[in-house]
Amino acid sequence: MIFGVTMHLWLGFAILALVLWGITGVTQKLSTNRISSERSFLWFCWAMVALSAAVLPVAGLHWALGTLVVVCSVAGGALNGLGAWTSFRALESGGKASIVISLVSLYPLLTVLLAVILLGERLTWMQTLGAFAAIAAAILLSLEEAPKTDAR
């Protein structure tokens, strides 16, 4: 129990992911301040390849993996990458950044729906409230303060 939060092992890993992904928000900004988002994305992908090569010796890869899990894992990479590309398209096709980013922040809602319907996951009412609070928080965090105009 840390600050009233029950520290399940999975929650610890989820928070580590949250922290690292959060840091990438800044490093990504530092990158795209200097190079195009496209080139930045390319080198982001190359780093993924390098990381995968690095974890290969410890991954314990074997051929007894089920077809479904392999397809889902490979599809995961494709879905995530394509999602990045379509989010760029949304911005390039005239969407205001504050609206587009707030809108795409709704993606966990679909995950929740799919997991409940297809995987039979069940949430307590507090967890349901928490899921909605998380999505609302992600939207609020994506909102930029409007620049102050000089009244004079």
């Binding site: 490093t27 900004k29 949304a90 809108l103 709704l106 967890q127 899921a131």
Partner: protein, 173 residues
């Protein structure tokens, strides 16, 4: 807050990064705007990613998941590499090298973040909880942007930060 983000996972390279692109501030009013279509497609793609990651995590460890994830990313990498090469400007400035270094670091951090995300699912985390928790990553970005980039947080972001902590408490219940 300026262009920050992630893709995600999250969505790996987040949409926020796109703020550095030239973005028209005009929104078509008559026909259904293209940006709405692409935004909805993004929700479907990233939302489904959480589901397939949970299914994959039922039959493999987080490292193998990351390996196969990268294999799924490979076709897009080839396409983007081809596109970048076609639009090559020949610019070899110091700024470009620094930008590439930051992009590479982003990929490493994002990839390790992916491994932790998969590990959360392997260790019994429900997709319906892990996805909303990890989607709170902008709280770290916002705080770091204040500390590292000297940006200022608006009222909405302060509210979002407070709500994020409440959400984590509720989701852990």
């Amino acid at each position: 807050m300026t262009a920050v983000a992630r893709a995600g996972a999250g969505p790996i390279f987040s949409a926020r990064e796109g703020r550095s692109m030239p973005v028209s501030e005009t929104i078509p009013t008559r026909k259904r705007p293209a940006w709405l279509f692409w935004s909805l497609v993004t929700i479907v793609l990233w939302g489904t990613w959480g589901l397939v990651s949970k299914i994959a995590s039922s039959g493999m460890n987080a490292y193998v998941n990351q390996l196969l994830y990268t294999a799924g990313l490979a076709p897009l990498l080839v396409f983007v590499a081809w596109h970048v090469r076609r639009n090559e400007t020949g610019d070899k400035s110091q700024g470009r090298r620094v930008g590439v270094s930051w992009a590479f670091l982003t990929g490493i951090l994002g990839g390790v973040g992916n491994i932790f995300f998969f590990q959360a699912l392997v260790k019994g985390g429900k997709a319906s909880i892990v996805a909303p928790v990890t989607a709170l990553f902008p709280m770290v970005t916002v705080l770091l942007a204040v500390i590292v980039l000297g940006e200022r947080m608006g009222r909405a972001q302060w509210a979002g930060l407070a709500l994020a902590f409440i959400a984590i408490y509720l989701l852990s219940a």
